[in-house]
Subunit: 231 residues, 2 copies
DNA sequence: CGGAGGATTGAAGGCTATCAAAGTCCGTGG
DNA sequence: CCACGGACTTTGATAGCCTTCAATCCTCCG
């Protein structure tokens, strides 16, 4: 039932490229696990005991200060890898934003297996390098962009990931999608407060740049305008 | 003259763990290069043509907006690896902050060599994972910390890296060091303006937390106080 | 000695946070 | 079916932190 052969992220996750025998060994080490929205999978500063592939759903990686301020430092989508291999402690929490399915491994087992399978380590390396690139461009956003620039950047990224433009290639394709984030989570991602996020949303709506069919849905009406706002 | 055998970062850089034969092959691919303070090694959004190990000196990784705002997204010290292997473009510029020596490789050559040497890729993976951890904790700083918290965090990190506490283990060890950054660069690192950085420095000085023997030098007089300010 | 770049200091303003209250949505239970 | 409760979101008023703009001050070198 939890066979790699039928795994929907089989060809995109770091497992891609393993042959059947290798896959069997991996399969024996790992197990599927469901997490419900809001549930934690990994705790900040805990011993790094497990790593995982995301099969389905969206999860957030966060760090917090002692006084409760939170910053989302990463978002994991299907086929993404989470956890900290080759290290003793995890430096961020992982919490499911939606109901999710993951394929978890004991970190020790995974580390040992990875060291014996260069192809797997290479996939993990490429993925980590790409994540570092994304994280660094997010630093630019957090350090230097204004609230409206942050919101515009965020909405375009969401549109590119979730939007269905349909089949009509027009100049300013409208795209509609459901956000996996609450307003508070958007604030934690962008380094803003929930009030600022809300105000920016309503302003974009008033200006006709976006539509807000419901709390969790966004429709990009004027992509060009958004792009001009990214800074 | 540019032999790996005499390299000062030989045992700390990703080359560590290679045997003599492998080292010879690497040696043939790479070459030493000196860069003077202020000189660029890699340009943002350029084709990723080279990667390198830092042998000596300090370099900054930056991204910029079209209108000239700059954010430092990483700092490379001796034994650190710079550049973007396995990718077509570099997403940040690399500029020397001090005179520096690096060991550069054509990216193509390095990529090929790395894929054939799992031990090297493993070292690179560990390094990239550690860098991702550091970058994420910096996101917390940029997204959620106040100016004084950012300055305190920065000074402690500098003290830990450069400070010579001497041999007297006291409760609040004074440590003195030279900054490799100008005030503007500190601002670009912390997501602040140069004026704010300056004001925070003078305030800490007035409060007796630090001393400022010269523009580029800092003395931590009250480490506990700094730690209490990190947020 | 004098210039130039960097750093500091000052005054004022703006952007975002904070505090507070009202509004909306949705599931639950009567 | 509808009222109720609670969480989330929006909106408003105010405050404060940091930026911006501007001027002065170092400090290093030619």
């Amino acid at each position: 039932m939890s066979s790699c052969e039928t795994c929907v992220v089989r060809n995109r996750a770091i497992c891609a490229g393993l042959d059947n025998r290798e896959l069997l060994a991996l399969n024996a080490m790992g197990r599927r696990r469901s997490v419900t929205a809001g549930e934690s999978l990994i705790w900040e500063d805990d011993d790094s005991l497990l790593v995982a592939n995301v099969i389905e759903g969206v999860l957030k990686l966060t760090t917090s200060t002692e006084d409760g301020r939170e910053q989302i430092v990463g978002v994991a989508y299907p086929s993404d890898f989470i956890g900290r291999p080759f290290g003793q402690t995890s430096r961020s929490s992982v919490v499911a934003l939606t109901d999710a399915k993951v394929c978890v491994f004991a970190r020790n087992d995974f580390d040992r297996y990875a060291r014996e399978h260069p192809e797997l380590e290479h996939k993990l390396l490429e993925r980590t390098l790409a994540e570092l690139d994304r994280t660094r461009s997010w630093m630019m956003l957090l350090g230097r962009k204004t609230a409206s620039e942050r919101i515009a950047t965020f909405l375009l990224e969401m549109a590119d990931r979730f939007g269905e433009t349909g089949c009509a290639p027009v100049l300013s394709p409208a795209s509609r999608f459901a956000l996996p984030f609450s307003r508070q989570q958007i604030a934690d991602l962008l380094g803003l407060t929930i009030e600022t996020v809300s105000r920016q949303f309503t302003r974009l709506k008033q200006d006709g740049v976006i539509g807000l069919p419901s709390r969790r849905e966004v429709e990009v009406l004027d992509r060009r305008a958004l792009e001009a706002l990214t800074g």
